[in-house]
Amino acid sequence: MRYLPKSDSERKEMLRAIGANSIEDLFSTIPERFRLKHPLHLPGPLSEAEIIQYFQARAEENARGYTSFLGAGVYQHLRSVVPDAIIQRGEFLTSYTPYQAEISQGTLAAIFEFQTLMCQLTGQEVANASMYDGSTALTEAVLMAERLTDRRHVFIARTVHPEYRQVLQTYAKHLGLELSEVGFTASGQLDVAALDPRALAGAAALVVQSPNFLGVLENLPALAEIAHGSGALLVTGIAEAVSLGTVRPPAEADIVAMEGQSLGVAPSYGGPYVGVIATREKNVRQMPGRLAGQTTDAQGRRGFVLTLATREQHIRREKATSNICTNEALFALAATIHLCLLGKQGLREVAEQNLAKARFAQAELEKIPGVKRAFSGPTFNEFTLEFPRSVKLINAELLREKIIGPLPLGQSYPDQTKRGLVCVTETMPRTEIERLAAAIRRILEKPV
């Protein structure tokens, strides 16, 4: 087998050195009755060429050649070929968690840079070395708010990504957290009037997302004032990190939980991505996940180490701030390289192109009779439209023209079946936007 670097005679020689008669001897502690008598029923072995063939065949069964207007937490953005070339260097790809600092300075310095970039983007003071993804980052941010306030009641906007809310529900259930959902207004923003001030007074956190799942930006300074007035923390989720190239960062939030997929990571059918938690310096000891810190050696040379590990499971076991161990270091590195390439100007330009393309698409689609914007609040690269028919039915027809249409909101909001979320990023050519508009126009002109 090509991955195994031993000849049979070397195997025999090693067995002799050990003093074993056969390889079976080395498995003698496994009770005989549990040892497999037959080979496993597995496909393979496959050569490299056959492996490539298998996966190419699978790729053909997906949506190659389709134009997609899906966003809703996962975004298609331009990516330079550079990050992928660098993260495939074996020194990054095939290294372990940098516990042995002297021979892991490359990974540690890159994590330190990642933490810095995440602080700069979010307007926060400290960020960790990454979480699994946006959904688990948001959940861990809420658990962190619970520890910081020693309160159990959490208010969460219905406009937070539905799958993020589901993950939070799974974790909250057995930790004694009480979750209350807060609705939205005609602007698509959090319905402040629906917040019960008396209940909020005992709350750990108010949890929102901006841009929210309907595509609308929340008025974070106002929400922070409301939360802080009751002694609650403001936890802000961000699913579309590219928005931060032009949108005001959530500087007023106490904890920011972000999905970093937009920053140079492929959609890859849902993962791996890169979650981020950023917060105020004073909260750092309640933060989950790994942290890299700067220090020196005996000769005063600058170096980096994993630090504040007494928060973590391998030291504190059942008293740890979280059970997280493995995170998404390789994709935190990809995001770091991507952001360094974009730089100050590039980041803003990408964000502004998203804004321009989305506005153009919105205007084109609103020209179609019966199609109108669903919410009046400010939007970035996604917006919700109301159609005269079920979005699911429209999408079924669009699919025949190789277009993956708006995300039907009815999947998560049963009262919104005629509303769909459209995402347009800098990767979408004007001609495809026009093709979408023409196709929807044709579909709606046909009698039901």
Binding site: L36, E60, L93, Y96, I103, G106, A320, P378
Partner: protein, 504 residues
């Protein structure tokens, strides 16, 4: 002091480039990426969003060219050790070869490009990959049903415990505690707490195994489960595993297996056959997906049929050769993360499994062969606290070297000068001063011999020149770093105002 030794065979001195932080190379106006021209009318952000919603330029954000980015990260990369450079004998971490074809297929257009919310009829390829991996993992573990959703081992543990909790709740009583041997990974107790249970630690016996008489006393009607790592973290198979399962089952409790060490079992024996009810796998260990400096991973959970109704949503279903994601599962524990898990990691694990097929047994045999060969080579030079036969890893202690003031961390650091990554130190907790060595199947006899030779040379140095070992490493860019200062006054990010320090 002499840092070189004629016995250092694997490594020589090599120039490494100095490099500051990327922020220190920044200069206004430089850039490393250009966008295609905009083909729609531009929009003024302030007008479009309102001034209150628009940000100012980010102070200190990097401005560098493409070549500077390439050099910066290439230079940083050369400061790392990697499997691609040599043996990475971290016990419990299973640092095996990460096949390059897996990287290639994970990046194919039509796989890397796919959106997780696209309709199932245009995602059949992704779903079939998940289905094929599920079937392989169930065959290898001998279990009945599976979820691929958990992002890593620790999340798999939590998911598994929530499944146990859900089943017990359906029987009327979720129970209160989960038993954990003192040799367990730290994630086990941390996961137990999130699942709403109390941790009860149980002591290992003199052989590092679970004491079944002791266990019998602890298992009562408040016990939900025992979490066992098998082979244990000292690399030994729990010979009485079936009896352990029987003790738990007789009191209505369940056996959870941490599959971190499946590398020692694949193709030889199956947890589903020896009484395990729920288990997780770490695909970044046994199934070779790259560690990438700390992730991503994937932590699938396998269960016996009775737990199947409680699996996280969505569940992959197959009907007439077509695949779909079933969200309507009323008894499900819910979601543990967004979408279907770390798809890109899952597909690499499938590529690995397909490469071996039933021959995965040979990988297991070679891993166990290597560990025993190294154990044999180091016996007599290092103290071996537990004498039971080793499987995929061997655990020594620093008891002999301690007499000369040299501890396991010193030996580990000196190993760096010999061209190897250190083994695992200070774990498992049941071995004071542990040296936990796991070579994996990826090492040749030659590499194992070099390692044995290096370890023997260091044992000799510890006797004759302990200071040399205690001050190691001597060959790295930086010496031992001041971790106490790092934690006392944490500097966790670069700041423009404090950047006066010269790049080193």
């Amino acid at each position: 002091m002499s840092q070189e030794s004629s016995r250092i065979k694997k490594a020589g001195r090599h120039i490494s480039q100095n490099e500051g932080l990327i922020f220190e190379k920044s200069a206004p106006g430089k850039r490393g990426f250009e966008l295609p021209p905009l083909d729609v009318p531009p929009v003024d952000a302030t007008k479009a969003l309102g001034a209150a919603y628009v940000r100012d330029a980010i102070e200190g954000f990097p401005e560098v060219s493409e070549i500077e980015v390439i050099r910066h990260f290439t230079r940083l990369s050369t400061w790392n050790y990697a499997i691609d450079l040599g043996m990475y004998p971290l016990g419990s971490c299973t640092m095996k070869y990460n096949p390059r074809v897996n990287e290639f297929v994970a990046r194919l257009d039509g796989l890397a490009s796919e959106h997780p919310s696209q309709p199932a009829n245009v995602a059949q390829g992704c779903l079939r990959i998940l289905s094929d991996l599920q079937k392989c993992l169930l065959e290898i573990t001998g279990m009945d049903a599976i979820t691929l959703q958990p992002s890593a081992g620790a999340q798999g543990e939590l998911t598994g415990l929530l499944l146990i909790r859900a089943l017990l709740e359906s029987q009327g009583n979720p129970r209160k505690k989960v038993l954990i041997p003192d040799s367990a990974h730290g994630t086990n107790p941390a996961s137990v707490v999130i699942a709403g249970y109390e941790v009860q630690n149980i002591k290992s016996n003199a052989h590092g195994q679970i004491d079944t008489d002791h266990l019998r006393e602890f298992v009562d009607n408040d016990t939900a489960a025992l979490m066992v790592t098998n082979p244990s973290t000292i690399g030994v198979f729990e010979e009485r595993i079936a009896e352990i399962a029987e003790i738990l089952h007789s009191r209505g409790a369940f056996l959870y297996m941490d599959g971190a060490n499946m590398n020692a079992l694949a193709g030889i024996t199956r947890p589903g056959d020896f009484g395990v009810d729920v288990m997780h796998l770490n695909l970044h260990k046994t199934f070779s997906t790259p560690h990438g400096g700390g992730g991503p991973g994937a932590g699938p959970v396998m269960v016996k049929t009775i737990f199947e109704p409680y699996l996280p949503v969505p569940v992959l279903i197959e009907k007439d050769g077509r695949f779909a994601l079933d969200q309507n599962r009323p008894r499900s524990i819910g979601r543990v993360r967004a979408y279907c898990g770390n798809f890109g990691v899952l597909l690499r694990a499938l590529a690995y499994t397909l490469a071996y097929g039933p021959g995965i047994r040979q990988a297991t045999e070679d891993a166990v062969l290597n560990a025993n060969y190294i154990r044999k080579g180091l016996e007599g030079h290092f103290d071996l606290p537990y004498k039971l036969p080793s499987m995929h890893e061997a655990v020594f202690s620093d008891a002999r070297q301690k007499k000369h003031g040299v501890n396991t961390m010193d030996i580990a650091k000196r190993l760096i000068d010999y061209g190897f990554h250190p083994y695992t130190t200070a774990f498992p907790l049941i071995v004071p001063g542990a040296l936990m060595i796991e070579p994996t199947e990826s090492e040749s006899k030659e590499e194992c011999d070099l390692f044995i030779d290096a370890m023997r040379a260091i044992a000799e140095e510890a006797e004759k020149n302990p200071q040399l070992v205690k001050t190691a490493p001597h060959s790295t860019r930086v010496g031992r770093l001041d971790e106490v200062a790092a934690a006392r006054k944490p500097v966790l990010r670069w700041k423009p105002s404090t950047s006066g320090e010269a790049a080193d």
